[in-house]
Amino acid sequence: MSCAFETELTAYIDGELKELDARRVAEHLPHCAECLATESLLRRAVSRLAELPELEPSPALRRQVLTRVGALPKGPLDWLGRKLKVRVLVPFAGLAVACGLLLVLRHGGAPKALPPLTASARLELARNFDLVDNYAVIGLDGPEDLAVVEHLQELEKTP
């Protein structure tokens, strides 16, 4: 079973214990062979780690990082400025113009406002409102369609 002080040993070696705790460990060590052996093992390992070969970054890393950093936009205005280049602006402007023309052409044949109806026209319309409504539902496109509707109405009337 490991000693309760064992978990403090690495922090003790690293000088990370509070003064009181460090003193307790220091007083414990001479009386515990296990902790003394572990402390010695840890110290040796820490000193040997200094012998490890260090990985040296390649010279290319610096160039790559600074190039990427230099290519980053500096702020919102810079971002906008980078986007509004001629080769980007011209196609988008052309597309905007084309869309605008299309909208104008489509809505150029929009139905104009109807002239105000006379009283007799209103009466006639009211009499035939159901018929007009039905015609709108079935989508009349020409005189042939009217003939079909007439026949349908005749059928509706027959018992």
Partner: protein
């Protein structure tokens, strides 16, 4: 290297000063590459990670506030980035063992004689083997303590952990590495950590 000067350089980088950022890069690139290397084991991929970390740092420079030491902030960014990389499952430290043969053919830096090169490689192998058996956080805490010389308090800040937790992480990791080195010295197989 003055920690306050690093914070000042970072603040200037946040205002678009690329020269200030390049100074920061020059000061810390080796540390970041070394840190990343402990996770992915491959020097080329470690450099790619380091590149991504520094670019991420620059992108977020405007958000930097010098409430913590710059090095703590730097390794918080690096730790999160490396953790994400490892959790994506693309790179694991175990893969390093398979690449050990390839690495053996590459000359080690800082070694002047063939014997030193061999000894250095063996030591690296023993340390790597011990780290393979550790959790990601143990590996991170160990790397920041042993290779970057960071205080436990700063490591706790970088890893968003308590100091007590960091103390425990570093102890388990250091003990595991110590046993592995001892096994190397005695000519036996590396021992597994008890904890």
């Amino acid at each position: 290297m003055d920690a306050d000067e690093d914070a000042e350089l970072m603040l200037r980088a946040g205002r678009g000063d690329e020269a200030a950022f390049s100074k920061l890069f020059d000061r810390h690139q080796r540390s970041v590459v070394r840190f990343a290397h402990r996770f992915v084991g491959d020097p080329a991929r470690a450099e790619e990670l380091a590149q991504e970390i520094f670019v991420k740092l620059y992108r977020n420079a405007r958000r930097y506030r010098p409430s913590a030491r710059f090095k703590t902030f730097l390794f918080r960014v690096a730790a999160n980035h490396c953790l994400n990389e490892v959790r994506r499952g693309e790179y694991r430290v175990e893969q390093v063992s398979k690449d050990a043969q390839d690495e053996a053919t590459q000359p080690l830096p800082d070694a002047t004689t063939p014997d030193q090169q061999v000894a250095g490689r063996e030591l690296e192998g023993a340390v790597r083997k011990a780290l393979e058996g550790l959790s990601e956080r143990e590996r991170m805490a160990f790397s920041l303590c042993r290779f970057e010389g960071m205080a436990y308090r700063d490591i706790a800040s970088a890893l968003s952990a308590s100091e007590a937790a960091v103390k425990s992480l570093i102890h388990r990791a250091t003990l595991a590495v110590a046993k592995s080195i001892e096994a190397l010295e005695s000519g036996g197989m590396p021992a597994r950590s008890r904890t």
